[in-house]
């Protein structure tokens, strides 16, 4: 279908509600025509993704004008459907039994919906259209918040149909692609915002779009620490506790580097959360909680972060993993806890709200626990309405994917019986790293 005039395009968007599109590609009403109408998808999938380097994104965003904004909008508009089509082909290649599994089928539908919407979106020629486009992007990002828990749930349940390697690599491709699409979309929305509002920097740290050019690591650690410590002190299984452990930072305290703030803070947040949880489980009631030590190191081309806790190590929780990498696997073959009832229930609950894998989302959730009730969704009997979130178990695998996205690394070493050391290394974006592409 082609649309030559703009008003007609808008009409299309108004008249085709999401549900109609959903039904066309719903698996539950799978008809032979779905098979034969895969052509459009294959055409897109045959194109290669046109990647931009991070450097290009930063330089592009430095001196904005209307033309550049529109150029950016149309790049996002044409690029994302190509990338989504690759993921759809990936999904189509999975075993039938996996894609029809609960969770995965929802993701498949969501991706089809996004693909159709992008594919049919008309060219953006004015700033007003760009505004509408940004709203569209935001809405789509919101809808897709349920992808991570759904995929996690579905793949955990389908663990037995896929080899651990295949499962993990599929999941990794999906999540990596998701990160890059979100970065492009969010970067464009952020650029639009700073262009149209003409505000000064919103935060104290300079940034271009979502890339913070001088991200102060110590401040990020402190932000995450204070957010975590401001939670109502409660831990699952144990109920209320006195307080959270402290976090002491040392090393190169002035270290700064260009990075996407949301990514760094998600990783640090998750790792500190794990460290605090382990510390409490091991020491609560046995005297003062040992502090968690964070060491920040500014290398020549990297930033290093070491988080040391005294939480007893990785193998003391009665889990059956063989090495620390298994904690980052989505397969229950490698990490049996993925199929524990509690995990599955928690994932199912999370699929209702969705997970964006940002710090802000988690903070909002525990500040407004009643928001779940407001939406009128029924709560499963076993989950109480409390501020403590049942653990879903995707913090580590997601952190690893975020960490390795630009070529960094995340490694865990256990001092069995004593504690764990986590080594995070993130490359300084923009220094000799021309070929990091999104």
């Amino acid at each position: 279908m082609t649309y030559s005039t703009v008003p007609r395009a808008l009409q299309f968007l108004r008249s085709n509600p999401l549900e109609v599109t959903l039904r066309r590609h719903s698996i539950r009403q799978y008809t032979p025509s779905n098979f034969y109408s895969n052509r459009e998808l294959e055409q897109y999938a045959s194109r290669e993704a046109k990647r931009l380097t991070l450097r290009q994104l930063v330089f592009f965003g430095r001196s904005l004008n209307a033309d550049k904004i529109l150029k950016s909008a149309n790049y996002v508009r044409t690029e994302l459907p190509v990338r989504i089509s690759h993921r759809l082909r990936d999904l189509q290649a999975l075993p039938y039994v996996v894609v029809t599994q609960e969770g995965v089928d929802k993701v498949y539908e969501l991706y089809w919906l996004a693909f159709e919407k992008f594919r049919q979106y008309p060219e953006i020629t004015t700033l007003a259209e760009n505004q509408k486009f940004c709203e569209f992007l935001q809405k789509l990002l919101d809808i897709h918040a349920t992808v991570i828990p759904n995929l996690s749930l579905g793949l955990s349940l389908s663990s037995k149909f896929l080899s651990p390697d295949r499962l993990d690599s599929f999941m990794r491709r999906m999540l990596v692609s998701r990160i890059s699409r979100r970065v492009l979309a969010e970067h464009h929305v952020a650029l639009t915002r700073s262009f149209t509002s003409q505000q000064g920097q919103e935060s104290d740290e300079p940034h271009v779009g979502i890339i913070y050019t001088g991200l102060n690591v110590k401040h990020s650690v402190e932000r995450c620490t204070s957010l975590l410590r401001s939670r109502p002190p409660e831990v699952e299984h144990m109920g209320k506790i006195d307080s959270w452990p402290e976090v002491i930072t040392d090393g190169h305290l002035d270290a700064q580097f260009p990075y996407i703030r949301e990514h760094l803070e998600y990783i640090v947040f998750e790792l500190l959360k794990n460290a605090m949880h382990a510390t409490i489980l091991k020491h609560y009631g046995k005297g003062p909680l040992p502090a968690i030590r964070v060491t920040v190191v500014a290398g020549e081309n990297d930033i290093g972060l070491r988080i040391s806790d005294q939480g007893g190590g990785l193998f003391s929780g009665g889990n059956t993993i063989e090495n620390s990498n298994d904690l980052c696997s989505f397969s229950h073959v490698r990490n049996a806890s993925r199929l524990e009832d509690q995990r599955i229930v928690a994932l199912r609950t999370a699929t209702e709200e969705g997970i964006r894998a940002t710090v802000e989302e988690q903070v909002t959730r525990w500040k407004n626990p009643s928001s779940q009730l407001e939406k009128g969704k029924p709560l499963t009997a076993t989950i109480e309405v409390s501020a403590s979130l049942p653990r879903i178990g995707i913090g580590l695998p997601m952190s690893k994917i975020f960490a390795t996205y630009f070529g960094g690394s995340l490694e865990l070493v256990s001092l069995d019986g004593w504690g764990t050391d986590v080594y995070l290394r993130l490359p300084k974006l923009g220094t000799n790293l021309e070929d990091i592409e999104l």
Binding site: G251, L281, V297, E300, G304, R306, G318, L415, G417
Partner: protein
């Protein structure tokens, strides 16, 4: 200015002396006698009798005249065979490497030891065993400095062999050496135990069931501190935390070796990073954390099974943390290789001033001094040749333990050592 009249004569004398030296080193080493070769091939072709740790220790449980005689007959069977393997490996090195005086010296020592043991008559009674144990002790002593000697030889020959081959050779040589010494020293210990019988009649020999890492750290720490002050002018303090009073069953000399090498690395890195001139600036501490093997704790409501996942395998874990600047990414691949050292740096040359020594241009002064010192103490350890990490790793892994190295480039390094508790490691092969 013209040179004096005697110059010509002096010059001629110098040349003659030099050429005779050259001639001497060009002479081929004398080949071994045909009888020796026959003996060697006889032992090479005997079937190996592999031993595991519990079998080795069983000679001491209990220690009786019979068990000691059983032990010596095992020693006389197995040691010559293992030494024959070692001799063969040395002989198959490239010829040019074999003519290196240090390598040749080692080969000769092994050939002699092999011959002594291979030609030794069977030991029939305790008196003969006394003699034998004394002789065995001498042999062990003779080989105390094998590693530094071979290391020196390989350093000099590094351009004649690719690094992978050197690594593989040294790995095999050191592993072989560990097992030979283990068998020999276990027998010597059992012989002594016969005179000083332990209360319960059970001699673990070389294994100390209550080996204390804390005591070891104190001992090795003070040795390395002295060495560090002597060579670099400063030394950091060791701070111990974690389960400081943990003890476990292990072979003390192995733990001693590992600790000494790792502390040497951390100390050297700390001083070079924070006080390269050795003027006595304050240094960040080296932090050692100990974690004892998890005991079979009563079940808590949190963990269904607090026992470790693999029954029967307990480890003592140790983390050595320094602020010595870490290891750069470029070096990370090479630090476990025998042929690599970070002592070939400008700092080492700067340190020449401190020692006021005139060394050859080829030798690193740090290498020369420390190797001499270590040779003098007879510990058979080296620093500056870069053997510390790969060897510590080998020792740690010998009974199924592990060594992991993590670095924060620009800040410091962490070394994680896990050592298997030997009272439950009976199945490890020697």
């Amino acid at each position: 200015m013209s040179r004096g009249p005697s110059f010509g004569k002096r010059r001629a004398r110098m040349l003659r002396a030099a050429s005779s030296r050259l001639y001497a080193t060009r002479a081929l080493p004398r080949p071994p006698s045909p009888e020796f070769l026959e003996l060697l091939s006889k032992y090479e072709s005997t079937t190996p009798r592999p031993l595991n740790l519990s079998q080795l220790l069983s000679f001491g449980r209990p220690v009786t005249p019979d068990s000691v005689l059983a032990s010596v007959s095992y020693v006389l069977y197995e040691l010559p065979r293992r030494l024959a393997t070692r001799v063969r490996f040395l002989e198959t090195l490239p010829f040019i490497v074999g003519t290196n005086p240090y390598v040749a010296q080692t080969t000769k020592a092994f050939q002699e030891s092999f011959q002594t043991l291979a030609e030794h008559p069977p030991v029939r009674n305790l008196q003969e065993n006394e003699e034998f144990a004394r002789m065995l002790s001498d042999i062990v002593q003779r080989h105390a400095n094998d590693i530094p000697t071979m290391a020196k030889g390989f350093q000099e020959s590094s351009r004649y062999m690719p690094p992978e081959e050197i690594n593989a050779f040294l790995d095999g040589a050191i592993r072989n050496r560990i097992s030979v010494r283990l068998i020999a020293e276990q027998h010597i210990a059992l012989t002594h135990a016969l005179h000083n019988p332990p209360k319960d009649g059970q001699a673990m020999g070389v294994v100390d069931t209550k080996c204390s890492p804390r005591q070891m750290i104190d001992m090795c720490g003070s040795f390395v501190t002295d060495l560090c002050y002597a060579t670099l002018g400063n030394a950091p303090t060791i701070v111990l935390d974690g389960q400081v009073d943990a003890t476990f069953a292990y072979i003390p000399v192995h733990l001693e070796y590992i600790l000494t090498e790792l502390l040497k690395n951390s100390f050297r890195a700390t001083v070079e990073q924070h006080d390269p001139q050795g003027t006595g600036l304050s240094l960040p501490d080296v932090l050692i954390t100990l974690s004892a093997p998890p005991s079979r704790a009563p079940r808590s409501k949190l963990n269904e099974s607090s026992a470790p996942s693999i029954p029967g395998e307990h480890y003592l874990s140790m983390r050595i943390r320094d602020q010595g600047g870490g290891v750069s990414k470029a070096h990370m691949d090479r630090i476990f290789s025998y042929a690599f050292t970070t002592a070939n740096s400008d700092t080492a040359r700067k340190n020449r001033r401190i020692w006021e020594q005139e060394d050859d241009d080829d030798d690193e002064p740090l290498l020369g001094v420390v190797a001499d010192q270590s040779l003098r103490t007879g510990m058979g350890t080296i620093a500056g040749l870069g053997y510390g990490l790969p060897m510590s790793s080998l020792y740690a892994r010998y009974f199924g333990g592990s060594l992991e190295f993590k670095s924060l480039e620009g800040w410091g390094s962490d070394v994680f050592v896990k050592l298997r508790c030997l009272d439950e490691a009976g199945d490890s092969s020697i």
